[in-house]
Structures are given as C-alpha cells and as structure tokens.
Symmetry: C2
Subunit: 125 residues, 2 copies
C-alpha cells in the first residue's frame, strides 16, 4: 500500500499550487525550497505514482513531460515558440462517432485529448 510521505505530499501540494504545468525539474526546484535534500529521482517516482492514482495529470510535450495538478478534464494550448502550456478553459466538443470507429477497427477508445497549438500572447509581436 502507498504511504503518505513528507516528500509525496509536498510534491502534490506544490503542483496543485501552480497553473504553469511545470516539468519534473521545475517542480523539483520548487519542492527543494521546502525539502532541501530531496532528490530528483524521488520527484519522478512520485509524479509517476500520483499520476497512476489520478491525483495529477501527465502532459506529454514534444521534448519532455509536464505535469498538471488539475485533474478535471480540460485541454491545453501549447505555444510553439516558448513551449509553455496554458489551460483551455472553454469546453471543446468532438463530433465523432466512437461506436462506428470501435466496430470498424476493433480498438477500444478510453478517452480523447485535444491539443491546441499556436503562438502565445507573450510570444506574439
């Protein structure tokens, strides 16, 4: 059974606190202000476990992963210039016949993920 260690709870708290979708390293820096001798490996291990528990969300980006403390279904906007990730507050509906796809292909759909790509407000101009 999983244990609630100081490390794990601080990692979760720090992630829930921000809306910046930090990378593992960025989160490591934040957590280190509260647990100076924590190791990067521990951050990775816990992000993995917290993700499996559904307490956080892993966002696959091009070069590395980012993490999101908000687990309600929502989509992301990815800036092609600075690589930052923003939340899309609006609901995005899909018009797609899941049943027909599943019958035709034999694949079982679990969920969808919409990525919105472009240039963020800071990078325009």
């Amino acid at each position: 059974m999983e244990r609630l260690t100081k490390q794990r709870s601080v990692i979760l708290e720090e992630l829930k606190k921000v809306k910046t979708h930090p990378t593992a390293s960025e989160l490591y820096l934040a957590v280190r202000r509260r647990i100076p001798n924590i190791s990067l490996g521990t951050v990775y291990r816990n992000l993995e476990i917290l993700g499996e528990e559904g307490l956080i969300m892993k966002i696959g980006c091009d070069t590395f992963n980012r993490f999101d403390g908000e687990t309600k279904a929502h989509q992301h906007f990815f800036c092609r210039n600075c690589q930052k990730v923003y939340d899309v507050e609006e609901n995005i509906e899909l018009k797609f016949n899941q049943k027909i796809f599943e019958e035709k292909t034999g694949h079982k759909i679990q969920d969808f993920n919409v990525g919105v790509y472009g240039i963020c407000k800071d990078c325009r101009r």
Copy 2:
C-alpha cells in the same frame, strides 16, 4: 539550399511506404537495408528537415517521436498498451469557438490535434 541526397530521398521513400508510424530507429533499420552504412544521426537530421519542409509529419508520443509520411490532416489512435499508433480515417470535427478563445487569451491558434487513446485490437483479450 537543400540538396537531394541519396540518404534523404531513401528516408522519405521508406517512410512514405509504410503506415506504421515508425520511430527514428525503426526507420533507420529499414533505410539501412538500402544504404547499409547510413548513420542514425543522418536519419534524425533528415527527419527534422523533411518535417520543416512539410513533407512528413512528426508525431509526439510519450517517450519518443514517431513519424508519418502522410501529411493530409488526419488524427491518430494511440494504444496505451503496446504504444503503437494507428490512423483515424474518420474526420473528427471540433465544436470550439476559436475567435472567442483568441480574443480572450491573446493567443493565436495555428491548429488542433486530436489524440484518441485506448487499447488496440491486438492488445484486447
């Protein structure tokens, strides 16, 4: 100006030939049957260039990238079990007010990407 080397054209040909969305390494193996002494670095370099030219498409997966020789807009199904990627032939429409989002956030949308996640036919059972 870009040059049409043997390496570049064979890489493009081999990628166009398959529907399996190979990784750089997988494509390297295929290309090596025609150019035995080609190096993996050359494959990476050319995939990058071909992508910029819009001749192929880079698909960001969790741990590594895959590449697609089909550049017509289409979506992908990602198997969570075996990590294979399949084409979604059906059109997926989005109900989303792009203009309102752009005005509200200041971000400029270039395009959308829908990922369909689940378990593929081979992995079910």
